[in-house]
């Protein structure tokens, strides 16, 4: 119930931010035509505010927020973000083995055979397939 109300409050805030700040700053003002660039975005912002208020006042629907799962998902997202940043700088072949190894170790994989499969075989196979076979580039 509380989480539903919180998500509703977030949607109201998002709607207000969009209507008063983001949409005016990031759309051009045009003074002709039935539909303006900001017409549908503004309608969406108003709907966010309205539906958010409804959700705060009459919260409905199930939620499945687990604190530890959220924490672990955040960790994986951060590791992926870092890997993408590093991949853009140092390349796919240098970073992917470290990235996959980190992910597998983080979930508790300790068997050396499977780890080698993820760290060596997987990146090499993808690289060979994409770069040599499909003739596409990789970071």
């Amino acid at each position: 119930m509380l989480l539903n109300r919180l998500s509703g409050a977030f949607v109201v805030t998002l709607g207000l931010l969009l209507y008063f700040m983001i949409i005016p700053m990031h759309t051009e003002v045009v003074d002709y035509g039935w539909m303006r660039p900001q017409s549908i975005p503004n309608a969406c912002a108003i709907l966010f505010v309205f539906l958010g208020i409804v959700q705060v006042l009459f919260p409905t629907g199930a939620t499945s927020v687990g604190f530890f799962e959220l924490l672990r998902v955040s960790l994986f997202a951060i590791v992926t973000m870092a890997a993408l940043w590093a991949m853009a700088r140092y390349g796919f072949l240098a970073i992917t083995p470290i990235f996959v190894g980190a992910l597998m170790l983080l979930v508790g994989e300790r068997r050396i055979g499977w780890l080698l499969g993820g760290v060596v075989v997987l990146p090499l196979t993808i690289w060979l397939t994409v770069v040599l076979l499909l003739d596409r580039t990789l970071p």
């Binding site: 990031h26 039935w34 539909m35 549908i40 409804v54 199930a62 672990r72 994986f76 997202a77 580039t137």
Partner: protein, 510 residues
Amino acid sequence: MVDVTTILAGLGDALSLTNLLFVIGGVALGQFIGALPGTGPVMAMAVAIPFTFVLDPLAAISFLVGVNKGGLFGGAIPAILINTPGTPDAAATALDGHPLAKKGKPVKAMKMALFSSVTGDTFSDIVLITLSAPLAIIALQMGPVEIFALMIFAFSIIAGLIGDSITKALIAAVLGLFCAMVGLDPEHGTPRLYFGYFELFDGLPLTAVAIGMLAVAEIFRRLANIGKSILPTIEIPDTQDAWDKRVSLAEYWACRYVMARGAIIGTVLGAIPGIGSTAAAFMSYASTKQTSKDPDSFGKGNIQGVAATEAANSAVVGANLIPLLAIGIPGSITAALLISAFKIHGIQPGPLLFEQQGRLIYGLFGAMLMANLMNLLIGQASLRLWARIISAPESLVFSAALVLCITGVYASTGGMFGVAVMLVFAILGYVMTSFGYSVVIFIIAFFLGNKLELSLSQTLVILNGDPLAIINFPVALALLLLSIFSIVWLGYLAPRRARKRADAYNNNPE
């Protein structure tokens, strides 16, 4: 109307050796990924789409159709063996498939699932081939006002996906619509909401958004939930009686009415956008149980239960393409993913496809029929192999899937920007799912958003801003009325009936 030469040329293209190899590859990949517990055809297609970038359109679409068909059958394998359905529709297969496996007949249950899956799928493909072209001819008579009404109708199908909260469903739809507004606006051509990133002039890339929300978000969740025991336990007993390893012709024939009913239910529900294979599978299961002479045996390993659900959920695949090819509306999430594949190859799905790309479409139809045959042959040959391969640890499977998503989106969007968008939408997808907001509704609204804005803009010009002038457009008016009916039926009456049926089943499961 498409001429016979085009149809024959298309079917000829489908039968080429290259195309056949891609169909085989797609079916095998789909069966393999579908067989992994916790994955399914959606994830399989999401991972595969960007890699089809380098293929010619027919090979690419045939490969993806193979992945989808193989994935749907593959989902039945973990459902039967370890009662862990990869997809919600396979949950219905588990009802009788798993008890059958526990009785020592896992191979028989899997083979029945395979045969009924191919039967249902072939039936719906034939319906698709005969119906979509005439529907497309009707759709081509439509002008901007009718197309706007059609867009409203497309949005109304979202009512079928509402779930337990109308407010949350509407918020998800509005969010999808808002995200579709990023990029140049269709009437004036001015850039908006691009936050200084020129890559966003063309809008958010559909492939990155769809893969992020559907595949990467789920991969993060699965990685986060891997416990201490990493290996899934899949066992097929070696000491099975020869009769328990096969489905005899008599057993298959005994299920003919069950499969026919399942195929019809799946085809009808599949052709209606938004209902999906889960409803078809459960509806077919329930009606088979109701009409059976021995309803008590259901849930305890009745092979007809497996046949009913698999025929129905596989029949949805072909029928789902009817609204996609005839009017350009995705009927399901896999159809929405197919749209992104079409777009990667510069093809706009919709009624014009039959006129502009008739050869490709009939090639696709040929490939679909071929994929059914391959599904049967590959499934027969490699059931035991999939069961062994899927014992690979989740730690490796999901790490590999994440890297494949990254490389795939990089290849299809042409840079790291698309990958960053994918990650942002993966986080958004995870948060939305956790708080009970439907990502499927989001993606359908996101896909339709641009078209809605364009058609609304054209309609307002034609009607000179007077909404009442729509009465001069009877087809548009009829579509708007149909939208109201669809909202009432899909959003209110159908869920009410389903709830009543579920209550009745819970109160008296026997």
